[in-house]
Chain length 319, copies 4
């Protein structure tokens, strides 16, 4: 019989993760700040609870999927009732993209209650979560990592072990998001250059994925940027700024200059300053276009166009 | 019976291209500045000539594979005997990575002799040229592009038509090289960050190609940068600087700011200033490591190590 | 008769400020974390106290000169005994370079005790403090600003009123330090360029201050950078990084991209990564020289040289 | 009796220089591409000639004030009739801001005719030229520099000798213009930061010149940038881009990365892309404002406002 799992946070990522845990046969006890958003999970077999500490059982697992470092610190890090109840043998799997410093501090705080903290940030967007195709970056004590393997397999096929440092998985995740944003910036500049030389942006996007850039990062983002199609957001620009800022803070504390990350941050801040925080983060390409004197395409694309786009096989597995 | 082709420049790219043309049944008339380097092609059936204009026959094709804009201008652009001999119906397929301005000027100059200029820069390194796996970017008059298709198919399986502007294919090629250099910079920064957080650089490189960056650009370069293995060069850093400089010049003349390209240029210049112009262009990652206070690995790797590396399946198809 | 002033923090800036207050006839009650460093002030008439809250008298003034936002928050912001004792009519003049957010938060916290917080960061190095030549940036409630004028005049001849927002004076001070660091970077680049063209760096430094850059910023820093004379520090590089980081954080929270500040931060981080945090902050010029393949001059200049330098009239009034 | 001087180019800088030479008692023979623009100088005693080579007399001096490297190369460098007539003992004083490479090439070309080339770029705007207050950077053979001193003194009070390398004076001049543009960028960023924090931009501009930045560069430009007053141009943005581009080319050929110059170039290109090439070069500050989501002030200021501005004592001596 499969163990009970406590789950904190059923937003766009947490919700499909709970569904997959239920499908895999786990008993799941769920809490969400706005309980209504969790309600539909009850029909699928989850128990909905009104206090976060109620999800925990002694020595069991809890999984969190929360939006920021601050919320994670409040809901779990500062929640003594929860940690006390979880107690020795308890494990907290933290799937949020937070700073390595936050993970290291939480790990230390958890230890006072005998609880093991595992950093397990996930790579993939909501649809990948729904398809149980997330890639999971994992770090923390070896024994705990061994124990949670079956649970993680219910969420995605690939688990990458980054070692014992609870901050390591977060560093690796931040590095991936930084690499994605860098690819967005590079394409934005390349597309502006070809556009001003009379070449269709989509022509270059297609050419890239037929040669050296034949991978999801360029396939997915290339088309969005070529078509300047930044809404609706699959991953919000404001969250992109959060992640690049965390990357730079982490780099500063380990004394690593990241000039390309600095450049990305400047463009993301500029997009926010112009009121584009709710655009998809590929929208940072708009800054590049504007600096070249090119106008952004209208944000109000009609639905037909958007549908055609969606049907064309756009693969939104990863972010 | 297949037509005769004149070929100018049998360096590391031109040489294997001639071999493939001979294999495909073409008669090839070859010229190279240092004739000895072309000599071995005679055994394979090529005719070696001592004057560049001798490779041309009236109304035939010539292909050039020359190192820089200046050399291309001298050997072909300013070579009236050659262009006159080639004459109406003659076509010049220019495979070098040069500026779009150079191509546009050459196209105009050729027209005075009735010769058609086609820009046909190739994506791929010497081994891809040897395997007839080059990707070819093509632009110029439609009729000429149609006529040269069979010849290009002997060099690589993919021909991308970029339109009539003779500069367009060069713009697209520069854009690709810029995107590759951007990926190098991004990985260099990401690897420095994880290294200073105690994570093996190769671990991140492996993880990337198993998730969103599963493509030749990241597979090939990722490993080189992770291992800081910058010699021998597959594509020299000094040539990388040439290409990024051409990209910036072309962007300036079409009024497109490219802040990421500017960053790349600064790092490439710095590497040259430190005497690393003959490193592979992935060596620009060394600038990132040094700025983080990390030491570059020794350049004098022993042969055993290098062999193991080569045998490990490194795919050097593209640059 | 002049009022009593409480003074918190007698480091390299605070110490000479206390001396000037005593000279001006004020009664000064002093606290410093390491009491020995304050001891010499007793001989000049100050009262040395062992608890920070003891410096306060009901309705009186206190002045703080503390190194970082964290220390200021601990020593004053979180010191309820101190604020309660100071009480209504009490004023706290905060001379440290901290973030505007810190000032705004402190102002709010002080108000609960009826205490008025004034941000009063100072421009000038220790010798300017000793000569009572500091420039003072002041913001906060008008009435309190009016009341403290005579006290501030004992510290420097120029007081700049930045308005009511307690964060405004800090923003202006950060902007000044950012402008100084920008001038350092610009000179570093210009000097590297001329040096590699065979021109003596000092030649350009001299020329600048005889033409359009005839002001303390370029006069003082220009020579240090030209001579690559980065020790001993007049203002430590690690503090420079702190200030530029505060500038960028403040800019991010008001959504202002500062690409030049980002560049400065990268160079300062790099210098720290190489173990140069105790250099003068002009030492960021070393990063520029190294990137150009130029070697930094030896840090171990002999004393004779250093003396000659000191006697040459170097004006260290400002930083 | 004072020698005859040939003068090539009577644009906004050359015209007032000729007037000062006439005032100083020299006989001046003038050529300008559009002769009408030189006509008014006839009334003041100059001889207007229709062919450029006519201004030269054997062994005499000529001075050129031409807009770009290309024009200088055409009007003088490639003008064999002119150089032959000037002949041994002839001296050409080149006051344009051109690349050091252009100066070095011209010096070599002149030597074939026995003519000495002196690089003598000037710092100062048209009004400084009119007031004979230009600063002159001079390099070339010592004997010739000695001989031209009296002539240069008629143009400005300060001559800076940069040595024998004919390119050295140009390098120094480019370095100065780069430093000016850097100060513009730094102020633009600082002003955007304070503006978004509710502080009047002019308040910071005033504060700067009362403290550490009390010099013409910050006094003149600070106010223009604070008021976002970019027209009419005292020095056109398009010329600023030319100079920063020359700086970067020169730096690249001596292998010096200049990240701040790269940043400036990107902002200048962006301004041109938006149709602001005729703005004053302080207008690059507009790019910084826009990236922060701030609107530029209207370009159509009425005349009254512009007059008030002019009367307010703006000191336009330098650029």
């Amino acid at each position: 019989m499969r163990p009970t799992i406590g789950f904190l946070g059923t937003g766009s990522m947490g919700h499909p993760m709970v569904v997959n845990l239920l499908k895999a046969g786990y008993t799941v006890r769920v809490w969400n700040r706005t309980a209504e958003r969790a309600a539909s999970l009850a029909a699928q077999g989850a128990t909905i609870l009104s206090l976060s500490e109620e999800v925990a059982e002694p020595g069991a697992l809890i999984i969190s999927s929360l939006s920021t470092d601050r919320v994670l610190n409040e809901v779990v890090g500062g929640n003594h009732a929860l940690l006390r109840k979880l107690g020795p043998e308890g494990i907290h799997i933290s799937t949020s993209t937070v700073s390595p410093e936050t993970s290291r501090n939480l790990a230390e705080g958890h230890r006072r209650y005998g609880v093991t903290y595992l950093a397990a940030p996930v790579l993939g967007r909501p649809d990948a979560a729904a398809d149980a195709k997330l890639s999971i970056f994992l770090s923390g004590p070896a024994q705990a990592k061994e124990r949670v393997q079956p649970v993680l397999r219910a969420l995605g096929p690939r688990v990458f072990d980054l070692g014992e440092d609870p901050g390591a998985a977060n560093v690796a995740k931040l590095a991936c998001n930084f690499l994605l944003a860098s690819a967005i910036e590079a394409m934005a500049e390349a597309f502006a250059l070809v556009e001003k030389n009379g070449i269709d942006r989509r022509r270059l996007a297609d050419l890239l994925v037929q040669t050296v850039f034949d991978c999801p990062a360029y396939r997915n983002y290339g088309r969005q940027i070529a078509e300047q199609h930044y809404q609706p957001a699959l991953f919000k620009l404001s969250l992109g700024l959060k992640d690049i800022s965390l990357t730079l803070e982490s780099a500063a504390s380990s004394l690593v200059p990241l000039p390309l990350a600095s450049l990305l941050r400047d463009h993301l801040i500029s997009a926010l300053a112009k009121g584009r925080g709710d655009f998809d983060w590929t929208g940072l390409a708009g800054e590049v276009s504007e600096a070249a004197g090119l106008h952004q395409s209208s944000a109000e694309s009609n639905d037909t166009e958007a549908d055609a786009y969606a049907e064309s096989g756009f693969d939104s597995q990863y972010r």
